[in-house]
Symmetry: C2
Amino acid sequence: MTSQKFLIKVGGGEKINWHYIAKDLVGITKKAKIVMVHGANAIRDEIAKKMGVPTRIITSPSGVSSVYTDSLALDIFLMSYAGLANKRIVSLMQKSGLNAVGLSGVDGRLWQAKRKQHTFSVENGKTKLIKNNLTGRVEEINVKLINTLLKNYFLPVICPPAIDEDSQIVNIDGDIAAVRTAAALGIKKIVFLFESPGLLRLYPDEKSLINKVEKDNIDKYLPMVVGRMKKKILAVEKAFDLGMQTVYFGDGRYENPITNILAGKGTIIS
Amino acid sequence: MTSQKFLIKVGGGEKINWHYIAKDLVGITKKAKIVMVHGANAIRDEIAKKMGVPTRIITSPSGVSSVYTDSLALDIFLMSYAGLANKRIVSLMQKSGLNAVGLSGVDGRLWQAKRKQHTFSVENGKTKLIKNNLTGRVEEINVKLINTLLKNYFLPVICPPAIDEDSQIVNIDGDIAAVRTAAALGIKKIVFLFESPGLLRLYPDEKSLINKVEKDNIDKYLPMVVGRMKKKILAVEKAFDLGMQTVYFGDGRYENPITNILAGKGTIIS
C-alpha cells in the first residue's frame, strides 16, 4: 500500500494554510511516501523589508522575472527559507505526528546547481548586465540523502537554496528543483499547491478554472498566464520532458488541499 | 579504524575560524566518526540588532545568564542558527569535501525538550517572573536520525533550537544538548571549541591556561569562571554524570583546532 510516491511542492504565499496541509498529510502518508518541497517568498519579502533591503525583482529579456540575489539577499534567503519557514513547517508537521526532517538544497549537496555566469535584466526598455547575482540552475540531484530518509520513515521537507560545483550557495527556481527531484527519485506524480484553485483562463477570475490540460498542449497556456505561473508552466513542461505522468495544480488555502486535487478539484495535467 | 567517535561542539563566537575547523576535519574524519553541534550567538546578536530587537540577557537568581526568548526572539534565533549559520557551515564543509547535512533540534524531534513553565530574572536586585519565555531543557535525544546519517557516511551538523512535547520550538542550552547527544550516541569524547585556549585560571589572561583537570574537581572551577564558561562547566559536570570519559576544551580560532586539543594543547578534563 505504500507503493505510491508523490512529490508535493507548496508555494511560499502568505495564504497557504500549513495546518490544513499537515492534517491532510496524516491520512495520505498512510498510503503513500511523500517528499515535500516548499517556498517561502512571503516570509522572505517581509524579512527583507524589516532588514531595510527589500526584495528586488529583475525581468529577463524573455519576460521571466526572478529575484536579484547579491550576498546580502542570499543571507536573507537562507534566514527565511532554511531558517524560519522550514523549521516552522517541520514543527507544525511534527505536531500532527508526521516525522518531518527539514533540509535545504545545500545539505548533502542535495541540489547541485550550475551558477549562471551572466544575468540580463530589462529595465526601462534597456537590457542591462547584472553582476554578482548568486543564482543558478539545479542540474544534479543527490538522491541518496532523500532515499535514506524515506527508507527510515522520515518525511523530507526541502527548500531552496542550492549549492554550486564550487560549494557556493546559490538561489535557484524551486519549481524546477522540485520537478528534477521527483524525476531523479522515479516519482511520477507531482502536486503543486498555491494560492489559487488551479490554472485560470482569465487570471485572477477563479471561476475561469481549467480542469484538465493535455500535457502536449501545456505550452499553449504560456502566453495566457502571468507572474509566477509562467515559471510553473515552464517547470511543468520540464516535468513531462523528464517522464512525469501527472502534474496536479491545487489550492493550498483550504481544507484537504491534497486529497481535493487528487480527486480532481483543481487542474490535472496529463 | 573508524571505531573512534567524537562529538565536537563549536561555540558561536565571531572569531571561530570555520575554515580551519573544516580543514582539520578532513583528516580527522578519515579515522573517526564525527557529530558536530554548533552555536551562532554572534550572528544572532547581529541580526537581532539589525531587526531592531537586540538580544536581551536575563540572569537567574543562581547567577546563570540566558537569552530571553519571546516569539520574535525565537524567529530571529531560527533565522540565524538554523538558517544562516548552519547552512554557511554546511557549504564550507562541503567545499572541503565533507558530506555535511545541517539539522536543528526540531528536525525529526532530534532534541526533545521540556519547556520551562517559569523563568525568574534578577533585575536591579529584584527577582521578577518572566512570562512567555520559549525556553526549555533537552531531555530526550532521538538518535535514530543521527545514526541513520552516520551509517550512510553523512556528517551531521546540528544546532539549536529544540522542540517540546507539544511541538513548540524552544530555545535550549546548546552545550547541555551536545553533552546529552554524545551520551545518547554512546560517544565517550567531547571536544568543545571556543574563543580561548581552554579553561583559564585568571580570565581573560590566556597565559593562565589550566592544562589538566580531574573530572572530580571540575566543580571547584565554577566560582572562578565567568559568563558562558559557567554554563560550559555545568555541561561538563553533566557529561561526566552521563558517563563521558574525556572532555576537551580547545581554541577554535587557530589552525588545526581539533588535532591540537587532542594532542593536549588546551584543557583536558578526565
